[in-house]
Protein backbone atom coordinates (compact mmCIF):
# COMPACT_ATOMS: atom_id res chain seq x y z
CA UNK A 1 0.00 0.00 0.00
CA UNK A 2 1.11 3.46 -0.75
CA UNK A 3 2.08 5.16 2.43
CA UNK A 4 2.97 8.64 1.38
CA UNK A 5 0.43 11.41 1.33
CA UNK A 6 -1.52 10.62 -1.81
CA UNK A 7 -2.77 14.12 -2.31
CA UNK A 8 -2.33 13.88 -6.10
CA UNK A 9 -5.23 11.46 -6.30
CA UNK A 10 -7.55 13.94 -4.63
CA UNK A 11 -7.23 17.24 -6.42
CA UNK A 12 -9.14 20.08 -4.96
CA UNK A 13 -12.45 20.80 -6.63
CA UNK A 14 -13.27 17.13 -7.09
CA UNK A 15 -16.11 15.95 -4.91
CA UNK A 16 -14.77 13.74 -2.17
CA UNK A 17 -15.85 10.11 -2.47
CA UNK A 18 -18.99 9.25 -0.58
CA UNK A 19 -18.18 8.23 2.95
CA UNK A 20 -21.04 5.85 3.55
CA UNK A 21 -21.25 2.21 4.36
CA UNK A 22 -23.60 -0.05 2.41
CA UNK A 23 -27.00 -0.45 4.04
CA UNK A 24 -28.11 -3.36 6.16
CA UNK A 25 -29.96 -5.20 3.40
CA UNK A 26 -27.14 -4.83 0.91
CA UNK A 27 -24.77 -6.32 3.43
CA UNK A 28 -27.25 -9.09 4.29
CA UNK A 29 -27.58 -9.94 0.61
CA UNK A 30 -23.81 -10.04 0.13
CA UNK A 31 -23.45 -12.29 3.13
CA UNK A 32 -26.03 -14.78 1.84
CA UNK A 33 -24.56 -14.81 -1.67
CA UNK A 34 -21.09 -15.40 -0.22
CA UNK A 35 -22.27 -18.27 1.93
CA UNK A 36 -25.06 -20.34 0.29
CA UNK A 37 -25.05 -22.94 3.08
CA UNK A 38 -25.90 -20.21 5.57
CA UNK A 39 -28.63 -19.09 3.18
CA UNK A 40 -30.12 -22.59 3.29
CA UNK A 41 -29.86 -22.62 7.08
CA UNK A 42 -31.54 -19.25 7.27
CA UNK A 43 -34.31 -20.44 4.90
CA UNK A 44 -34.91 -23.48 7.12
CA UNK A 45 -35.15 -21.25 10.18
CA UNK A 46 -37.59 -18.93 8.39
CA UNK A 47 -39.79 -21.92 7.48
CA UNK A 48 -39.71 -23.22 11.06
CA UNK A 49 -40.46 -19.80 12.54
CA UNK A 50 -43.32 -19.36 10.03
CA UNK A 51 -44.75 -22.72 11.07
CA UNK A 52 -44.47 -21.62 14.68
CA UNK A 53 -46.30 -18.37 14.02
CA UNK A 54 -48.92 -19.59 11.55
CA UNK A 55 -49.47 -23.03 13.04
CA UNK A 56 -53.25 -22.59 13.21
CA UNK A 57 -53.45 -21.77 9.51
CA UNK A 58 -51.03 -24.45 8.28
CA UNK A 59 -52.03 -27.47 10.36
CA UNK A 60 -54.83 -29.48 8.70
CA UNK A 61 -56.20 -30.86 12.00
CA UNK A 62 -56.59 -29.76 15.58
CA UNK A 63 -53.42 -31.12 17.19
CA UNK A 64 -55.32 -32.38 20.22
CA UNK A 65 -58.23 -33.95 18.32
CA UNK A 66 -58.30 -37.66 19.07
CA UNK A 67 -59.56 -40.22 16.56
CA UNK A 68 -59.77 -43.69 18.08
CA UNK A 69 -60.64 -45.14 14.71
CA UNK A 70 -57.22 -44.24 13.35
CA UNK A 71 -54.52 -44.93 15.92
CA UNK A 72 -50.79 -45.38 15.06
CA UNK A 73 -51.57 -45.20 11.36
CA UNK A 74 -48.77 -44.96 8.80
CA UNK A 75 -48.57 -41.87 6.59
CA UNK A 76 -51.46 -41.51 4.15
CA UNK A 77 -53.10 -38.79 2.11
CA UNK A 78 -55.45 -38.05 5.01
CA UNK A 79 -52.66 -37.98 7.59
CA UNK A 80 -49.41 -36.87 5.91
CA UNK A 81 -47.23 -38.19 8.71
CA UNK A 82 -49.67 -40.72 10.12
CA UNK A 83 -51.33 -40.63 13.52
CA UNK A 84 -50.13 -41.23 17.04
CA UNK A 85 -51.31 -43.61 19.75
CA UNK A 86 -54.43 -41.53 20.40
CA UNK A 87 -55.21 -41.06 16.72
CA UNK A 88 -53.96 -37.46 16.60
CA UNK A 89 -52.55 -36.15 13.32
CA UNK A 90 -48.73 -36.17 13.63
CA UNK A 91 -48.21 -33.49 10.98
CA UNK A 92 -50.53 -31.09 12.81
CA UNK A 93 -48.82 -31.85 16.08
CA UNK A 94 -45.43 -31.28 14.47
CA UNK A 95 -46.48 -27.87 13.17
CA UNK A 96 -47.95 -26.85 16.51
CA UNK A 97 -44.95 -28.36 18.28
CA UNK A 98 -42.75 -25.94 16.37
CA UNK A 99 -44.41 -23.11 18.26
CA UNK A 100 -43.58 -24.66 21.59
CA UNK A 101 -40.08 -25.74 20.63
CA UNK A 102 -39.04 -22.46 19.03
CA UNK A 103 -40.53 -20.53 21.93
CA UNK A 104 -38.71 -22.82 24.34
CA UNK A 105 -35.33 -22.52 22.62
CA UNK A 106 -35.51 -18.76 22.14
CA UNK A 107 -36.70 -18.22 25.72
CA UNK A 108 -33.99 -20.38 27.25
CA UNK A 109 -31.17 -18.91 25.19
CA UNK A 110 -32.56 -15.39 25.60
CA UNK A 111 -32.56 -15.76 29.37
CA UNK A 112 -29.07 -17.28 29.29
CA UNK A 113 -27.75 -14.40 27.16
CA UNK A 114 -29.47 -11.70 29.16
CA UNK A 115 -28.04 -13.09 32.40
CA UNK A 116 -24.72 -14.50 31.29
CA UNK A 117 -23.30 -11.81 29.01
CA UNK A 118 -23.59 -8.82 31.38
CA UNK A 119 -22.40 -10.87 34.35
CA UNK A 120 -19.40 -12.10 32.38
CA UNK A 121 -18.58 -8.63 31.10
CA UNK A 122 -18.68 -7.11 34.58
CA UNK A 123 -16.66 -9.91 36.14
CA UNK A 124 -13.97 -9.80 33.48
CA UNK A 125 -13.73 -6.04 33.16
CA UNK A 126 -13.95 -5.15 36.84
CA UNK A 127 -11.66 -7.90 38.08
CA UNK A 128 -10.58 -8.02 41.72
CA UNK A 129 -12.96 -9.26 44.37
CA UNK A 130 -16.03 -8.72 42.15
CA UNK A 131 -14.59 -11.20 39.68
CA UNK A 132 -13.68 -13.60 42.50
CA UNK A 133 -17.21 -13.62 43.91
CA UNK A 134 -18.92 -13.96 40.52
CA UNK A 135 -16.53 -16.66 39.36
CA UNK A 136 -17.05 -18.77 42.47
CA UNK A 137 -20.83 -18.55 42.03
CA UNK A 138 -20.49 -19.56 38.38
CA UNK A 139 -18.27 -22.49 39.36
CA UNK A 140 -20.91 -23.65 41.80
CA UNK A 141 -23.56 -23.59 39.08
CA UNK A 142 -21.30 -25.35 36.61
CA UNK A 143 -20.48 -28.12 39.06
CA UNK A 144 -24.11 -29.37 38.99
CA UNK A 145 -25.22 -31.67 36.18
CA UNK A 146 -27.26 -29.35 33.95
CA UNK A 147 -30.42 -31.39 33.79
CA UNK A 148 -30.49 -31.99 37.55
CA UNK A 149 -30.11 -28.28 38.15
CA UNK A 150 -32.85 -27.52 35.62
CA UNK A 151 -35.18 -29.96 37.36
CA UNK A 152 -34.41 -28.37 40.72
CA UNK A 153 -35.04 -24.85 39.39
CA UNK A 154 -38.27 -26.03 37.73
CA UNK A 155 -39.27 -27.46 41.08
CA UNK A 156 -38.86 -24.01 42.61
CA UNK A 157 -40.50 -22.09 39.76
CA UNK A 158 -43.30 -24.59 39.16
CA UNK A 159 -44.05 -27.01 36.34
CA UNK A 160 -44.80 -25.76 32.84
CA UNK A 161 -42.98 -25.02 29.60
CA UNK A 162 -42.14 -21.39 30.40
CA UNK A 163 -40.77 -22.18 33.85
CA UNK A 164 -38.89 -25.18 32.50
CA UNK A 165 -37.18 -23.07 29.86
CA UNK A 166 -36.47 -20.26 32.31
CA UNK A 167 -34.61 -22.82 34.38
CA UNK A 168 -32.76 -24.10 31.33
CA UNK A 169 -31.80 -20.48 30.63
CA UNK A 170 -30.50 -20.04 34.17
CA UNK A 171 -28.54 -23.27 33.80
CA UNK A 172 -27.01 -22.12 30.50
CA UNK A 173 -26.13 -18.63 31.71
CA UNK A 174 -22.88 -19.55 33.54
CA UNK A 175 -21.48 -21.07 30.34
CA UNK A 176 -21.93 -17.79 28.50
CA UNK A 177 -20.76 -15.78 31.49
CA UNK A 178 -17.52 -17.74 31.68
CA UNK A 179 -16.92 -17.34 27.97
CA UNK A 180 -17.54 -13.59 28.04
CA UNK A 181 -15.48 -13.14 31.20
CA UNK A 182 -12.48 -14.82 29.62
CA UNK A 183 -12.73 -12.58 26.56
CA UNK A 184 -13.22 -9.44 28.65
CA UNK A 185 -10.14 -10.26 30.72
CA UNK A 186 -8.04 -10.32 27.57
CA UNK A 187 -9.71 -7.42 25.80
CA UNK A 188 -9.53 -4.91 28.64
CA UNK A 189 -5.75 -4.99 28.24
CA UNK A 190 -5.93 -4.05 24.57
CA UNK A 191 -4.19 -0.89 23.53
CA UNK A 192 -7.34 0.50 21.93
CA UNK A 193 -9.03 0.33 25.32
CA UNK A 194 -6.20 2.38 26.83
CA UNK A 195 -6.41 4.83 23.94
CA UNK A 196 -10.13 5.17 24.59
CA UNK A 197 -9.42 5.85 28.27
CA UNK A 198 -7.03 8.60 27.23
CA UNK A 199 -9.83 10.21 25.23
CA UNK A 200 -11.98 10.28 28.37
CA UNK A 201 -14.22 7.28 27.69
CA UNK A 202 -16.40 5.95 30.50
CA UNK A 203 -16.34 2.32 31.57
CA UNK A 204 -19.78 1.85 30.04
CA UNK A 205 -18.59 3.12 26.66
CA UNK A 206 -15.52 0.88 26.75
CA UNK A 207 -17.63 -2.15 27.65
CA UNK A 208 -20.23 -1.54 24.95
CA UNK A 209 -18.06 -0.26 22.13
CA UNK A 210 -14.77 -2.07 22.60
CA UNK A 211 -15.14 -5.12 24.82
CA UNK A 212 -18.57 -6.43 23.82
CA UNK A 213 -18.17 -6.26 20.01
CA UNK A 214 -14.84 -8.03 20.23
CA UNK A 215 -16.10 -10.61 22.72
CA UNK A 216 -19.26 -11.46 20.83
CA UNK A 217 -17.85 -13.84 18.22
CA UNK A 218 -17.45 -16.94 20.38
CA UNK A 219 -20.67 -15.98 22.17
CA UNK A 220 -22.63 -16.11 18.92
CA UNK A 221 -21.37 -19.57 18.16
CA UNK A 222 -22.15 -20.67 21.69
CA UNK A 223 -25.65 -19.18 21.44
CA UNK A 224 -26.45 -21.15 18.31
CA UNK A 225 -25.08 -24.30 19.89
CA UNK A 226 -27.19 -23.62 22.99
CA UNK A 227 -30.27 -23.20 20.77
CA UNK A 228 -29.77 -26.77 19.66
CA UNK A 229 -29.14 -27.95 23.23
CA UNK A 230 -32.21 -26.03 24.43
CA UNK A 231 -34.37 -27.89 21.92
CA UNK A 232 -33.08 -31.12 23.39
CA UNK A 233 -33.49 -29.85 26.94
CA UNK A 234 -37.10 -29.00 26.18
CA UNK A 235 -37.48 -32.55 24.90
CA UNK A 236 -35.90 -33.98 28.05
CA UNK A 237 -37.92 -31.88 30.46
CA UNK A 238 -41.16 -32.52 28.58
CA UNK A 239 -40.23 -36.20 28.48
CA UNK A 240 -39.97 -36.09 32.27
CA UNK A 241 -43.28 -34.29 32.45
CA UNK A 242 -41.84 -31.00 33.68
CA UNK A 243 -42.20 -29.07 30.44
CA UNK A 244 -45.03 -29.01 27.96
CA UNK A 245 -48.14 -30.48 29.57
CA UNK A 246 -50.38 -32.90 27.63
CA UNK A 247 -52.34 -32.70 25.49
CA UNK A 248 -50.50 -29.72 23.92
CA UNK A 249 -47.72 -30.85 21.60
CA UNK A 250 -44.05 -30.06 21.58
CA UNK A 251 -41.33 -31.94 19.71
CA UNK A 252 -39.90 -33.22 22.93
CA UNK A 253 -43.17 -34.50 24.32
CA UNK A 254 -43.92 -36.11 20.94
CA UNK A 255 -40.68 -38.05 21.08
CA UNK A 256 -41.37 -38.97 24.67
CA UNK A 257 -44.75 -40.36 23.71
CA UNK A 258 -43.47 -42.11 20.59
CA UNK A 259 -40.72 -43.71 22.65
CA UNK A 260 -43.33 -45.79 24.47
CA UNK A 261 -44.52 -47.25 21.16
CA UNK A 262 -41.06 -47.57 19.62
CA UNK A 263 -41.46 -51.32 19.13
CA UNK A 264 -44.91 -51.19 17.58
CA UNK A 265 -44.46 -48.09 15.46
CA UNK A 266 -40.87 -46.78 15.35
CA UNK A 267 -41.75 -44.31 12.58
CA UNK A 268 -43.54 -42.20 15.20
CA UNK A 269 -40.20 -40.84 16.40
CA UNK A 270 -38.88 -39.83 13.02
CA UNK A 271 -40.92 -36.70 12.45
CA UNK A 272 -40.15 -34.84 15.71
CA UNK A 273 -36.61 -36.26 15.81
CA UNK A 274 -35.75 -35.03 12.34
CA UNK A 275 -37.42 -31.70 13.10
CA UNK A 276 -35.14 -31.21 16.13
CA UNK A 277 -32.08 -32.31 14.17
CA UNK A 278 -32.75 -30.03 11.21
CA UNK A 279 -33.52 -27.02 13.41
CA UNK A 280 -30.41 -27.54 15.51
CA UNK A 281 -28.28 -27.88 12.37
CA UNK A 282 -29.79 -24.74 10.87
CA UNK A 283 -29.00 -22.75 14.02
CA UNK A 284 -25.42 -24.00 14.00
CA UNK A 285 -24.87 -23.24 10.34
CA UNK A 286 -26.23 -19.73 10.59
CA UNK A 287 -24.29 -19.07 13.79
CA UNK A 288 -21.00 -20.22 12.38
CA UNK A 289 -21.48 -18.17 9.25
CA UNK A 290 -22.58 -15.13 11.23
CA UNK A 291 -19.42 -15.35 13.28
CA UNK A 292 -17.30 -15.16 10.15
CA UNK A 293 -19.41 -12.46 8.57
CA UNK A 294 -19.15 -10.25 11.66
CA UNK A 295 -15.37 -10.41 11.71
CA UNK A 296 -14.08 -7.62 9.49
CA UNK A 297 -10.65 -9.21 9.22
CA UNK A 298 -12.08 -12.31 7.55
CA UNK A 299 -13.54 -10.23 4.73
CA UNK A 300 -11.62 -9.59 1.59
Amino acid sequence: MNDTAPSQSQPTGVIAPRIDRPGFFTRLLHWLIDDPIAAIGLAVLIVIFSCAIFADQIAPYDPTLQDYAAMLEPPSSAHLLGTDDLGRDVFSRLIHGATASVYAAVLAVGVATALGVPVGLIAGYTGGWVDEVISRILDTFLSFPAIVLAIAVTGVLGIGLTNAMLSVGIVFAPQLARLVRARALVLKQELYVEASQCFGASSGWILLRHILPNAIQPVLVQITLLMAVALLAEASLSFLGLGMQPPDPSWGSMIARAYIYAQISPAQMYAPGIAILVTALAFNTVGESLREALDPTSRH
Partner: protein
Protein backbone atom coordinates in the same frame (compact mmCIF):
# COMPACT_ATOMS: atom_id res chain seq x y z
CA UNK B 1 18.11 12.19 44.23
CA UNK B 2 16.69 13.06 47.57
CA UNK B 3 18.88 16.14 47.42
CA UNK B 4 16.83 19.30 47.66
CA UNK B 5 18.04 20.49 44.25
CA UNK B 6 16.09 17.58 42.82
CA UNK B 7 12.85 19.25 43.72
CA UNK B 8 12.64 22.75 42.41
CA UNK B 9 9.51 24.61 43.41
CA UNK B 10 6.58 24.27 41.05
CA UNK B 11 6.55 26.98 38.43
CA UNK B 12 3.08 26.08 37.29
CA UNK B 13 -0.23 27.80 37.21
CA UNK B 14 0.89 30.40 34.71
CA UNK B 15 0.11 30.36 31.02
CA UNK B 16 3.69 29.63 30.10
CA UNK B 17 4.42 27.29 33.00
CA UNK B 18 5.30 23.70 32.16
CA UNK B 19 2.65 21.41 30.68
CA UNK B 20 3.60 18.66 33.07
CA UNK B 21 5.60 18.78 36.27
CA UNK B 22 6.74 15.53 37.77
CA UNK B 23 8.12 15.57 41.31
CA UNK B 24 9.74 12.65 43.13
CA UNK B 25 7.79 10.20 41.02
CA UNK B 26 7.97 6.55 42.02
CA UNK B 27 6.02 3.71 40.49
CA UNK B 28 6.03 0.36 42.18
CA UNK B 29 4.42 -2.82 40.96
CA UNK B 30 3.71 -5.80 43.11
CA UNK B 31 5.08 -9.01 41.67
CA UNK B 32 2.57 -11.67 40.70
CA UNK B 33 3.20 -13.82 43.77
CA UNK B 34 2.69 -10.76 45.95
CA UNK B 35 5.98 -11.13 47.79
CA UNK B 36 8.24 -8.78 45.85
CA UNK B 37 8.03 -5.24 44.65
CA UNK B 38 9.29 -3.89 41.38
CA UNK B 39 10.42 -0.29 41.36
CA UNK B 40 9.75 0.59 37.75
CA UNK B 41 10.38 4.28 38.38
CA UNK B 42 12.26 5.55 41.39
CA UNK B 43 12.24 9.14 42.56
CA UNK B 44 12.28 11.00 39.27
CA UNK B 45 11.62 14.73 38.86
CA UNK B 46 11.35 16.75 35.68
CA UNK B 47 9.24 19.29 33.80
CA UNK B 48 7.90 19.18 30.30
CA UNK B 49 7.86 22.69 28.95
CA UNK B 50 5.20 24.05 26.68
CA UNK B 51 5.79 23.14 23.04
CA UNK B 52 9.06 21.31 23.60
CA UNK B 53 10.04 17.78 22.69
CA UNK B 54 11.24 15.97 25.75
CA UNK B 55 13.12 12.83 24.75
CA UNK B 56 13.32 9.89 27.12
CA UNK B 57 15.75 7.13 26.22
CA UNK B 58 16.71 3.92 27.92
CA UNK B 59 16.94 0.18 27.50
CA UNK B 60 13.86 -1.98 27.90
CA UNK B 61 13.08 -2.24 31.60
CA UNK B 62 14.44 1.22 32.30
CA UNK B 63 11.00 2.56 33.20
CA UNK B 64 10.69 4.94 30.28
CA UNK B 65 7.35 3.58 29.10
CA UNK B 66 6.04 3.62 32.67
CA UNK B 67 6.87 7.31 32.88
CA UNK B 68 4.99 7.77 29.59
CA UNK B 69 1.92 6.05 30.95
CA UNK B 70 1.96 8.35 33.97
CA UNK B 71 2.17 11.36 31.67
CA UNK B 72 -0.87 10.10 29.75
CA UNK B 73 -2.76 9.57 32.99
CA UNK B 74 -2.98 5.81 32.48
CA UNK B 75 -1.09 5.11 35.67
CA UNK B 76 -1.17 6.89 39.03
CA UNK B 77 2.05 7.59 40.92
CA UNK B 78 2.85 5.30 43.84
CA UNK B 79 4.74 8.22 45.35
CA UNK B 80 5.34 11.79 44.30
CA UNK B 81 3.13 14.13 42.32
CA UNK B 82 2.29 14.92 38.74
CA UNK B 83 0.90 18.34 37.90
CA UNK B 84 -0.82 18.93 34.59
CA UNK B 85 -0.93 22.60 33.67
CA UNK B 86 -0.42 23.42 37.32
CA UNK B 87 -3.14 21.13 38.69
CA UNK B 88 -2.24 18.15 40.80
CA UNK B 89 -3.47 14.93 39.19
CA UNK B 90 -4.48 13.67 42.63
CA UNK B 91 -6.87 16.61 43.11
CA UNK B 92 -8.99 15.85 40.05
CA UNK B 93 -12.29 14.09 40.60
CA UNK B 94 -13.03 11.19 38.26
CA UNK B 95 -15.38 13.33 36.22
CA UNK B 96 -13.04 16.32 36.07
CA UNK B 97 -10.16 14.15 34.99
CA UNK B 98 -12.17 12.57 32.18
CA UNK B 99 -12.68 16.07 30.85
CA UNK B 100 -9.18 17.35 31.51
CA UNK B 101 -7.22 14.40 30.20
CA UNK B 102 -8.08 15.21 26.61
CA UNK B 103 -5.19 17.65 26.64
CA UNK B 104 -2.70 14.88 27.46
CA UNK B 105 -2.72 12.23 24.79
CA UNK B 106 -0.67 9.25 23.80
CA UNK B 107 0.44 7.60 20.57
CA UNK B 108 1.37 3.98 21.07
CA UNK B 109 4.12 1.78 19.77
CA UNK B 110 1.90 -0.74 18.01
CA UNK B 111 -0.32 1.17 15.59
CA UNK B 112 -2.50 -1.87 14.89
CA UNK B 113 -3.30 -2.68 18.50
CA UNK B 114 -4.30 0.91 19.20
CA UNK B 115 -7.22 0.68 16.75
CA UNK B 116 -10.29 -1.43 17.46
CA UNK B 117 -10.34 -4.01 14.63
CA UNK B 118 -14.14 -3.86 14.46
CA UNK B 119 -14.42 -0.14 14.01
CA UNK B 120 -13.93 1.61 10.70
CA UNK B 121 -11.26 4.26 10.55
CA UNK B 122 -14.03 6.88 10.55
CA UNK B 123 -15.53 5.48 13.76
CA UNK B 124 -12.09 5.43 15.35
CA UNK B 125 -11.59 9.04 14.35
CA UNK B 126 -15.01 10.04 15.68
CA UNK B 127 -14.55 8.30 19.01
CA UNK B 128 -12.51 10.96 20.84
CA UNK B 129 -14.84 13.72 19.62
CA UNK B 130 -17.90 11.98 21.05
CA UNK B 131 -16.63 12.66 24.55
CA UNK B 132 -16.08 16.35 23.84
CA UNK B 133 -19.71 17.13 23.21
CA UNK B 134 -21.03 20.26 21.54
CA UNK B 135 -20.71 18.94 18.00
CA UNK B 136 -23.29 17.35 15.77
CA UNK B 137 -22.46 14.32 13.70
CA UNK B 138 -21.83 16.20 10.47
CA UNK B 139 -19.40 18.53 12.18
CA UNK B 140 -17.53 15.68 13.84
CA UNK B 141 -17.33 13.90 10.50
CA UNK B 142 -15.93 16.94 8.79
CA UNK B 143 -13.33 17.34 11.51
CA UNK B 144 -12.43 13.67 11.26
CA UNK B 145 -11.92 13.95 7.51
CA UNK B 146 -9.90 17.14 7.95
CA UNK B 147 -7.67 15.38 10.46
CA UNK B 148 -7.23 12.48 8.04
CA UNK B 149 -6.16 14.88 5.35
CA UNK B 150 -3.85 16.68 7.76
CA UNK B 151 -1.86 13.50 8.37
CA UNK B 152 -1.68 12.78 4.65
CA UNK B 153 -4.36 10.14 4.11
CA UNK B 154 -7.13 10.09 1.52
CA UNK B 155 -10.72 10.53 2.63
CA UNK B 156 -11.77 7.12 1.39
CA UNK B 157 -9.47 5.52 3.99
CA UNK B 158 -12.21 6.48 6.44
CA UNK B 159 -14.38 3.60 5.26
CA UNK B 160 -11.76 0.97 5.68
CA UNK B 161 -11.02 -1.27 8.60
CA UNK B 162 -7.62 -1.16 10.35
CA UNK B 163 -6.41 -4.44 8.83
CA UNK B 164 -6.78 -2.93 5.38
CA UNK B 165 -4.15 -0.28 6.11
CA UNK B 166 -0.38 -0.50 6.32
CA UNK B 167 1.48 0.09 9.57
CA UNK B 168 2.48 3.60 8.60
CA UNK B 169 -1.07 4.46 7.57
CA UNK B 170 -2.41 3.13 10.85
CA UNK B 171 0.08 5.22 12.80
CA UNK B 172 -1.08 8.26 10.80
CA UNK B 173 -4.66 7.42 11.79
CA UNK B 174 -3.63 7.20 15.44
CA UNK B 175 -2.11 10.65 15.14
CA UNK B 176 -5.17 11.99 13.33
CA UNK B 177 -7.43 10.73 16.12
CA UNK B 178 -5.93 13.01 18.74
CA UNK B 179 -5.75 16.17 16.63
CA UNK B 180 -9.38 17.26 17.18
CA UNK B 181 -8.77 17.10 20.93
CA UNK B 182 -6.25 19.96 20.70
CA UNK B 183 -3.79 18.24 23.00
CA UNK B 184 -1.06 20.16 24.77
CA UNK B 185 1.09 17.15 25.49
CA UNK B 186 1.41 14.00 23.42
CA UNK B 187 3.28 11.03 24.80
CA UNK B 188 4.94 9.25 21.89
CA UNK B 189 5.88 5.79 23.14
CA UNK B 190 8.26 4.18 20.63
CA UNK B 191 6.01 5.47 17.89
CA UNK B 192 8.26 4.45 15.03
CA UNK B 193 9.78 1.27 16.49
CA UNK B 194 7.17 -0.96 14.85
CA UNK B 195 7.41 0.73 11.46
CA UNK B 196 9.53 0.07 8.42
CA UNK B 197 12.75 2.04 8.43
CA UNK B 198 11.69 3.67 5.15
CA UNK B 199 8.53 5.07 6.78
CA UNK B 200 10.05 6.20 10.06
CA UNK B 201 11.39 9.42 8.60
CA UNK B 202 8.00 10.37 7.18
CA UNK B 203 6.23 9.77 10.46
CA UNK B 204 8.88 11.69 12.42
CA UNK B 205 8.52 14.58 9.98
CA UNK B 206 4.78 14.50 10.50
CA UNK B 207 5.32 14.81 14.25
CA UNK B 208 7.62 17.77 13.68
CA UNK B 209 5.12 19.49 11.36
CA UNK B 210 2.24 19.02 13.79
CA UNK B 211 4.34 20.42 16.60
CA UNK B 212 5.11 23.48 14.52
CA UNK B 213 1.46 23.97 13.53
CA UNK B 214 -0.26 23.20 16.83
CA UNK B 215 2.41 23.97 19.41
CA UNK B 216 2.27 20.48 20.88
CA UNK B 217 4.69 19.31 23.52
CA UNK B 218 5.97 15.78 23.06
CA UNK B 219 7.29 13.28 25.54
CA UNK B 220 9.20 11.26 23.01
CA UNK B 221 10.12 7.83 24.33
CA UNK B 222 12.49 5.56 22.43
CA UNK B 223 15.39 3.20 22.91
CA UNK B 224 17.15 4.56 19.84
CA UNK B 225 19.27 7.55 20.82
CA UNK B 226 19.68 8.64 17.19
CA UNK B 227 15.92 9.06 16.72
CA UNK B 228 15.47 10.82 20.05
CA UNK B 229 18.40 13.16 19.37
CA UNK B 230 16.99 14.03 15.97
CA UNK B 231 13.63 15.22 17.29
CA UNK B 232 14.16 16.31 20.91
CA UNK B 233 14.92 19.68 22.50
CA UNK B 234 15.96 18.02 25.74
CA UNK B 235 16.88 14.46 26.53
CA UNK B 236 16.53 12.41 29.67
CA UNK B 237 18.53 9.21 29.97
CA UNK B 238 16.92 6.51 32.13
CA UNK B 239 18.50 3.44 33.65
CA UNK B 240 16.70 1.02 35.97
CA UNK B 241 13.95 3.46 36.83
CA UNK B 242 16.16 6.43 37.57
CA UNK B 243 17.26 9.41 35.54
CA UNK B 244 21.00 9.32 34.85
CA UNK B 245 21.23 12.55 32.93
CA UNK B 246 18.97 15.32 31.70
CA UNK B 247 19.86 18.26 29.54
CA UNK B 248 19.57 20.03 26.21
CA UNK B 249 20.07 17.63 23.32
CA UNK B 250 23.30 19.26 22.10
CA UNK B 251 24.80 19.16 25.57
CA UNK B 252 23.86 15.57 26.22
CA UNK B 253 25.02 14.31 22.83
CA UNK B 254 28.17 16.39 22.45
CA UNK B 255 29.32 16.68 26.05
CA UNK B 256 27.70 13.87 28.01
CA UNK B 257 28.17 13.92 31.76
CA UNK B 258 27.16 10.40 32.72
CA UNK B 259 29.07 7.18 31.93
CA UNK B 260 25.88 5.48 30.80
CA UNK B 261 25.20 8.20 28.25
CA UNK B 262 28.78 7.88 27.03
CA UNK B 263 28.23 4.14 26.63
CA UNK B 264 24.94 4.62 24.76
CA UNK B 265 26.51 7.09 22.39
CA UNK B 266 29.49 4.92 21.74
CA UNK B 267 27.19 2.02 20.90
CA UNK B 268 25.80 4.04 17.99
CA UNK B 269 27.32 3.14 14.66
CA UNK B 270 29.51 6.00 13.48
CA UNK B 271 29.93 7.10 9.94
CA UNK B 272 33.70 7.57 10.30
CA UNK B 273 36.47 4.96 10.15
CA UNK B 274 37.81 4.09 13.59
CA UNK B 275 41.02 6.14 13.36
CA UNK B 276 39.10 9.32 12.60
CA UNK B 277 36.61 9.04 15.44
CA UNK B 278 37.22 11.39 18.31
CA UNK B 279 35.40 9.16 20.74
CA UNK B 280 36.79 6.03 22.22
CA UNK B 281 34.65 2.95 22.00
CA UNK B 282 33.13 2.01 25.33
CA UNK B 283 31.56 -1.38 25.62
CA UNK B 284 29.20 -2.24 28.44
CA UNK B 285 29.67 -5.64 30.02
CA UNK B 286 26.68 -7.75 30.96
CA UNK B 287 22.95 -7.06 30.92
CA UNK B 288 20.81 -4.52 32.68
CA UNK B 289 20.33 -5.86 36.25
CA UNK B 290 16.90 -6.97 37.41
CA UNK B 291 14.73 -4.09 38.60
CA UNK B 292 13.42 -6.48 41.27
CA UNK B 293 16.82 -6.38 42.92
CA UNK B 294 18.56 -3.20 41.77
CA UNK B 295 22.24 -2.67 42.68
CA UNK B 296 23.04 -0.67 45.80
CA UNK B 297 24.40 2.86 45.61
CA UNK B 298 24.54 4.05 42.03
CA UNK B 299 22.44 1.66 39.98
CA UNK B 300 24.90 1.77 37.12
CA UNK B 301 27.97 0.83 39.16
CA UNK B 302 27.89 -2.86 38.16
CA UNK B 303 28.56 -1.95 34.54
CA UNK B 304 30.38 1.36 34.90
CA UNK B 305 34.10 1.59 33.99
CA UNK B 306 34.44 4.64 36.23
CA UNK B 307 32.91 2.95 39.28
CA UNK B 308 34.79 3.20 42.57
CA UNK B 309 34.03 2.21 46.13
CA UNK B 310 31.73 5.17 46.80
CA UNK B 311 29.47 4.19 43.87
CA UNK B 312 28.63 0.89 45.54
CA UNK B 313 27.46 2.47 48.77
CA UNK B 314 26.16 5.90 48.08
CA UNK B 315 23.45 6.88 45.65
CA UNK B 316 24.77 9.88 43.70
CA UNK B 317 22.94 13.18 44.08
CA UNK B 318 21.07 14.75 41.18
CA UNK B 319 23.25 17.76 40.43
CA UNK B 320 23.01 20.59 37.94
CA UNK B 321 26.60 20.57 36.75
CA UNK B 322 26.03 22.92 33.85
CA UNK B 323 23.15 25.29 33.27
CA UNK B 324 20.05 23.18 32.56
CA UNK B 325 22.16 20.02 32.44
CA UNK B 326 21.69 17.56 35.29
CA UNK B 327 23.31 14.26 36.10
CA UNK B 328 23.54 11.74 38.91
CA UNK B 329 27.16 10.61 39.01
CA UNK B 330 29.83 10.88 41.69
CA UNK B 331 32.61 11.32 39.16
CA UNK B 332 31.09 13.77 36.72
CA UNK B 333 32.44 17.33 36.71
CA UNK B 334 31.30 20.35 34.70
CA UNK B 335 34.02 19.39 32.23
CA UNK B 336 32.65 15.91 31.81
CA UNK B 337 34.07 12.66 33.07
CA UNK B 338 37.72 12.24 34.03
CA UNK B 339 39.80 10.22 31.53
CA UNK B 340 39.71 6.52 32.14
CA UNK B 341 42.98 4.97 33.23
CA UNK B 342 42.19 1.48 32.01
CA UNK B 343 39.44 -0.13 30.01
CA UNK B 344 39.40 2.23 27.04
CA UNK B 345 40.43 0.56 23.84
CA UNK B 346 40.02 3.15 21.16
Amino acid sequence: MTNSTATPPLASGTADGPVAEVRDLSIRFRTLDGTGELRAVDDVSFDIRRGETFGIIGESGSGKSTIGRVLAGLLDPSDGTVHFDGHDRADFSRREWRQARRAYQMVFQDPSAALNPRMTILDSLLEPMRFMGGMDRAEMRQRALDALERVGLRHDMALRYPHELSGGQKQRVNIARILPLNPKLVVCDEVVAALDVSIRGEILNLFVELQRDFGLAYAFIAHDIAIVAQISDRIAVTYLGKFMELGRTDDVIDRPLHPYTVALLSAEPQPLPAHLRDRTQLRLEGDIPSPLDPPSGCRFHTRCPWATEICKHESPAWRELRPDHFTACHHATPDGLPPLEIGSDG
